[in-house]
């Protein structure tokens, strides 16, 4: 489509209205429809994207009722008082007793309020980011979320940027790559240091295995006298978000961290931009891409429902609720 490309089409042009309608007509994602989806998505790229305030506000108000990130995204001293018997998200029969030591790690209140940030970038780790040159555009956002300690070293910076306000850490990484922080701690600290002033966000109360290693992250930062904030996802927030998306047809053992961050961003930001979210083995033009922008290690099958999540994002993009970037950026 680049061959006939002479500048983006206006959002409200007839052509764009048609292209958007075509995407919305695809209601279910099946393998046969996937090529169709790719085609229509590709075609839509000639249209400018605009936020549809009405749609976006409607969506955000739904989220505020189900999930309420500005009050419940993290465990805080306000929403999780000392002595709380906190229920785990997955190990539902297990509770964690909030003792003084853990309570002291919580922020007094949620550090962010509703629609605090004008423009947010949520950066997934998809191979679609490779050679995207989107680093500049990502870094120009007011607030940047990243998932799972992704590499942001020099060789990736042009594609993914460096700015990070929140980075999530999956405790399984701590267990596997850093021996639960029971031995050396500096290698882990050195990794965190790269994300300059970013806060670290962990699912400490997702299951019982996660708690100790997550808490230990706070201690590691204390060991090195780092002022970095450590936050823990509130398990009830995770439950509510999963339930919400399940109702929207995302059927997976577990929603991805990316989807959770996007959901939170929609409440905390006016405008949400997604980069690196493309859960298919090939890009919209049909060219195979690596799984991540930094490696090609495939995830456990049947755990996440990436295509279904992306399908939702595409619909949201089409409705003007958020913007999904899958093309290369030409940010100047």
């Amino acid at each position: 489509y680049f061959e006939f490309y002479d500048g983006p089409l206006e959002y409200n042009s007839t052509k764009c209205l048609d292209l958007r309608r075509e995407i919305m007509e695809l209601k279910v994602l099946s393998l046969t429809k996937q090529t169709e989806l790719f085609e229509r998505w590709k075609n839509l790229q000639i249209c400018k994207w605009e936020m549809n305030i009405t749609e976006a506000n409607f969506f955000k108000s739904t989220l505020s009722r189900c999930c309420n990130a500005p009050a419940f995204l993290f465990t805080t001293q306000k929403n999780t008082p000392l002595g709380t018997e906190l229920k785990y998200e997955v190990d539902t029969s297990r509770i964690f007793h909030i003792n003084n030591e853990v309570f002291r790690m919580f922020p007094k209140e949620m550090p962010y309020y509703r629609s605090q940030f004008k423009k947010c970038a949520v950066v997934g780790n998809g191979g679609i980011l490779k050679n995207s040159q989107c680093g500049g555009e990502i870094d120009s956002a007011d607030f940047v979320f990243r998932c799972n300690l992704p590499p942001i070293s020099k060789r990736y910076v042009a594609d993914v940027g460096v700015k990070t306000n929140i980075v999530t850490v999956n405790p399984s990484i701590i267990t596997e790559r850093f021996q639960k922080l029971e031995k050396w701690r500096k290698p882990f600290y050195d990794v965190l240091k790269v994300y300059e002033n970013a806060s670290v966000l962990l699912p400490a109360f997702y299951n019982t295995h996660n708690t100790d290693v997550s808490i230990r992250v706070r201690y590691v930062l204390d060991d090195f006298e780092s002022k970095k904030a450590v936050y823990f996802f509130h398990p009830q927030y995770l439950i509510n978000v999963s339930r919400y998306w399940l109702n929207q047809g995302v059927r997976a053992k577990r929603v991805t961290t990316g989807l959770i961050l996007v959901t939170a961003a929609l409440e905390l930001c006016e405008e949400v931009h997604l980069f690196g979210f493309w859960g298919f083995p090939m890009n919209p033009s049909g060219i195979f891409i690596t799984h991540h922008y930094y490696d090609n290690i495939k995830p456990r099958p049947g755990f996440h429902a990436m295509p279904s999540e992306i399908f939702n994002f595409i619909h949201m993009h089409t409705k003007g609720i958020l913007r999904v970037h899958t093309d290369a950026c030409n940010f100047l």
């Binding site: 031995k183 050396w184 701690r185 500096k186 230990r216 204390d222 060991d223 090195f224």
Partner: protein, 257 residues
Amino acid sequence: MTKENSPVGKRVWYDGEFLYYLTIDNETFSLFPKAIPFQLPLKRCSVVGNGGILKNSRCGKQIDQADFVMRCNLPPLSNAYSNDVGSKTQLVTANPSIIKKRFQNLLWSRKAFVDNVKVYNQSYIYMPAFSMKTGTEPSLRVYYTLTDVGAKQTVIFANPNFLREIGKFWKSKGIHGKRLSTGLFLVSAALGLCEEVTIYGFWPFSMDLHGRYISHHYYDNVLPDSGFHAMPEEFLQLWFLHKRGVLRMQLERCEDS
């Protein structure tokens, strides 16, 4: 333990366990210094026990005058004590049990420990990592902790073969406790490393030579579990060594000179 005496693949038999060994792997090997890190022989050594007899002894200056000062079990060295016990340390032992009791095995915050050992400046922290099964992980963790933060102290590990031989030697001299005290291990090591050894704070009785009651340690009066160490028997042997002039035992207060 050194790279020279404990190569990868070697079986290390624990001296405090019955038939238990660890095979040195690459990871553990990498924690050992190449060879014994001291300039041997050491000249004048002070070995400082923690006995209450040191309280008000004013021996600090004399202790510090030695070329090499050895202390037991991470003793407190704050200003309040320096007059009596000095402040210089080249080697201090640390028992894994202390790491467990006082620092939660270094599994959580490690800052308290790092701050705690700052008083020992550039000394070696000598740990019996391979005596009891349960002591290995905490001991290695001391190494990780101090190396991670770039602390001035260097962690070295006791060779269980050495400890076992020392134990056998003293057993043959009639010491029958379950295990020798750290103090006696340290004095024995000092006799092998130093030209001249003076020992302080070795006095396992509740009264001093003049019949004044003294506390168990110079810093507290927490009594040990009974029947673990045979302190009076150990003391007797040290006393014999003093009388034969093998080492010098300081029991009186030190004079300011």
